[in-house]
Symmetry: C2
Subunit: 307 residues, 2 copies
């Protein structure tokens, strides 16, 4: 049972080394992360992009390119298709965005011939280690699915349960969050939360324990849950997965905790045939490295499940 | 310009002492807060409710009831109507919930004969002092208006600007929050945010500077705003008022920061003829006392504006 990023790295040290394929790799911050991942034994990499520019940035970072496979493709779209095809063909285990528009990067992920489609809907998961919480938290969806329907939410839970399992968090507790703990027909988020709970009880969402609606404190703070006298609930401040009613609630919370609480985090796109790392320039260096570690663990889990 | 609760208390020490009327006052936590407010010179109080029970709790708290006006009304509904009428008639300056259902308490607030209706819609404001932010933050609406329409949001801003002014924060900057900083027609929260900005520019929302949509970090963290290269914006990490797209986004964020950031806060219902304090059992003692201090400042401001 991994409780923090140190545990995840320990778990990662026990599996076969993984490889990341980077689309349009001539990005200083991405190369810094890839270099750290190599040095820390997290992952090797294949750098697809403009080889001249990659060499120039690598020199500035003191990176020895002999340790990396570099594939020279100048055009960004072509580079992304080449990079994703390496993952599609099993030559790399996960896929990372470099200096390319998010829209074009996602197009390569969804490409029917060389991409990573599975038929499952894509969603985003943010894995948090936060001071004051004795376990990892899996926040979803704070960045990808804007206004999830009930069915979207069920699929987001399914995607995230797989990530929990890859991280060694078995049978995670899932809290569909809302402003209140009781169903209010005038608040669709609470109705969805109750229905997700019922779907879980009927076996339609498996491998986890869903209990909602829940407020943030009842989902995450055992003392608060006890103070409010939460009885007969399956989650008493001990949720693993925090499911947000929509992207605004998720993203506002995510940004606030990154800046005003003590947090370490990594992020992945899930629902794909292999982990996809889509960090933004506003994400710190450590977030990018943590995301690579998460990706490597999830890639390992996917490989074992497909065997 | 008040930057924290110490500043608010200093400001409060310079105005005439205010009085709170408590509905169904036989509540130990509410009486503790009222006692502290008296001792700290924040406010005097009138306790309306079951006088025997009030006396019993007061004895346990070491409260000298000679310092308080007690009005014996056993029935909770009648007690709330009596308590709110004291504010309506100018015998008290603000109104506080005791041991009564929120629904019944709000009915007394909205009572046409003895209540505190103004014709304005009611909304909730939470005033935050947070480590890492050099000013007070006014969060709205995290507790009262579930899914505000564009017009509701405009009114919530107007209500909150009055609270800022009462706290000595002139011409506040208002950030309508969303997951992103650009308008996306598929995300109604961003469309509303842009429209609120336009309404402010056209003079339809006055006494403040509105700039949205904004993500939480661009609204509150100057370094993040600069790092993302926000140019041509009126808010660069220096928002005073944080307007949430709906109650879920607001409440989840509020609960998270209370538990995982370093925060002091107080809460009020606004849009009423006098401040209304509606704290819940999950609010700490200090939140209740802070709310009384806020209420006293706002009551003073309302009195001066009505003269």
């Amino acid at each position: 049972m991994s409780k923090n990023f140190a545990d995840l790295l320990e778990k990662l040290s026990q599996v076969e080394k993984k490889k990341v394929s980077v689309a349009v790799a001539q990005d200083d911050e991405v190369l810094m992360a890839v270099k750290a991942a190599k040095e820390r034994g997290i992952a090797d990499s294949i750098l697809v992009g403009d080889a001249d520019k990659i060499a120039e940035i690598a020199a500035g970072l003191g990176m020895n390119l002999a340790d990396y496979e570099v594939i020279d493709v100048k055009d960004p779209i072509e580079a992304s298709l080449k990079a994703v095809s390496l993952v599609h063909d099993g030559k790399a285990d996960m896929y990372m965005k470099g200096l390319i528009d998010t829209k074009d990067f996602l197009k390569s992920v969804l490409n029917k011939e060389v991409g990573l489609r599975t038929g499952k809907p894509l969603s985003h998961v943010c894995v948090y280690e936060m001071e004051g919480v004795d376990r990892l938290l899996f926040l979803t969806d704070v960045a990808f699915v804007p206004y999830p329907s009930l069915e979207d939410k069920a699929n987001i839970i399914r995607n995230t349960v797989e990530i929990c399992e890859a991280c060694g968090v078995a049978n995670p507790k899932v809290a569909p969050l809302a402003a209140v703990e009781v169903v209010n027909p005038k608040m669709p988020a609470t109705v969805d939360a109750a229905e997700l709970t019922a779907m879980n009880e009927r076996g339609e969402i498996e491998g986890c324990i869903v209990d909602g609606p829940l407020s943030f404190d009842l989902a995450t703070v055992p003392e608060a849950a006890k103070h409010k006298g939460a009885t007969g609930r399956k989650i008493v401040g001990d949720a693993d997965i925090l499911l947000f009613p929509d992207i605004h609630a998720g993203n506002i919370l995510y940004k606030a905790l990154v800046h005003f609480a003590k947090v370490k985090n990594g992020n992945l796109i899930t629902g794909t045939a292999a982990p996809v790392i889509l960090t933004s320039r506003s994400d710190s260096f450590e977030v990018k490295v943590n995301s690579l570690a998460l990706g490597a663990l999830v890639a390992d889990s996917l490989k074992k499940n497909n065997k």
